[in-house]
Symmetry: C2
Subunit: 187 residues, 2 copies
DNA sequence: TTGAATGTGTACAGATCGGTAACCTTTTTC
DNA sequence: GAAAAAGGTTACCGATCTGTACACATTCAA
């Protein structure tokens, strides 16, 4: 593999960006944390922004692959998988390294609608929405688009709440709410 | 009023922080945007962090006052007010200056659980949760805490989605979901 | 064996970061 | 009217920011 170091740079940079934030992470810190020299970084990526975009892309691939696989492992039918997705969220929340959703944070730090980082964050959310909408359709929901959106709201809300509100168990509450919404639409 | 300029400084700083983010807003930019000299700033606030905390406190007061008042104007009964709160969210989303929830962003930029800014962001969310839980109790919900949490999830999710997902109408979808959850618990 | 490609270390440029010192002007208060 | 509080101006500190220049080491393939 030629671009070996490059992949490792992106992998480690992703961890630091996720842990500390984007503006709060300087290139010098990345040199220390990744062990890759600054000169090499700027040979692979012309700007910090390009490195962030690469990290976000990797995060999207890793996260969605893990998420979809776990959902698939937990349940068989589309309806059950929609519910199981909230158990997967719960698993995520309990990881030590959990620090909220990287794409929500990216969209928050780069707010301009047409900023490449904001756009990429939005694309991830669209893919997650698509996943839910597809399952809703396969489950036979009356209005799959509406149900998909509503379940996405619950998921996003659960993620944000898991970060900020310690008095809640967002994964449990969201799962219960999702069950009610699903029953209401399938019955 | 003695601390007149101070209040105006906080008011304008709040706008800039909300628009551009915290790390992305330097004190020099604040000098230009607020018209207050840097020396004056540092006479009122010893650090940038103190200024951010003051801005967040003002935001909490302003936002909650506005939100609760609008909910009260739109409906009379607790159950109706729970639903109406999603219409108020919709009004917020359509403001030109809407840039998401300042406290979600604050919690995202300052992730350490015990960081003063993170703590203050969490307090705002707890107050919003309390508001919903109280209404749920008055509305006669079976488990007001659970319903309050679930409605909070929908609200937080709607805010995040309003920022990142343009193909949805989060306020409408969240309102419909809230109605289902409410009916399920009151019936 | 030569020569790209790919890597590193170091030093630096120019801007900006949060924060301060010293001095002057305006406004308020007694 | 004088003292004192508050605000402004200018210049600066050391640190850090993104990004670059240059010289040197490693790998690997023709």
């Amino acid at each position: 593999m030629r671009p070996n170091k490059r992949d490792e740079l992106v992998r480690k940079a992703l961890q630091v960006f996720y842990r500390d934030g984007f503006h709060a992470t300087g290139m010098d810190k990345l040199v220390v944390e990744t062990g890759v020299s600054k000169t090499s970084m700027y040979k692979h990526f012309r700007t910090k922004e390009e490195l962030i975009l690469a990290a976000l892309q990797l995060r999207d691939e890793n996260f969605r692959k893990w998420f979809l696989q776990r959902v698939d492992e937990l349940s068989d039918t589309p309806a059950e998988q929609l519910i199981a997705s909230f158990d997967v969220l719960g698993e995520w929340f309990q990881e030590d390294s959990f620090r909220g959703c990287m794409f929500i944070k990216a969209g928050a730090e780069y707010q301009e609608q047409d900023h490449p980082i904001h756009v990429q964050a939005a694309e991830h959310k669209h893919l997650m929405l698509e996943f839910l909408t597809d399952l809703a359709r396969k489950a036979g929901a009356r209005d799959p688009d509406a149900l998909g959106c509503q379940l996405l709201l619950l998921q996003e809300g659960a993620i944000v709440t898991a970060v900020l509100v310690k008095s809640c168990d967002p994964a449990r509450d969201a799962k219960a709410a999702a069950q009610v919404l699903l029953d209401n639409v399938l019955a």
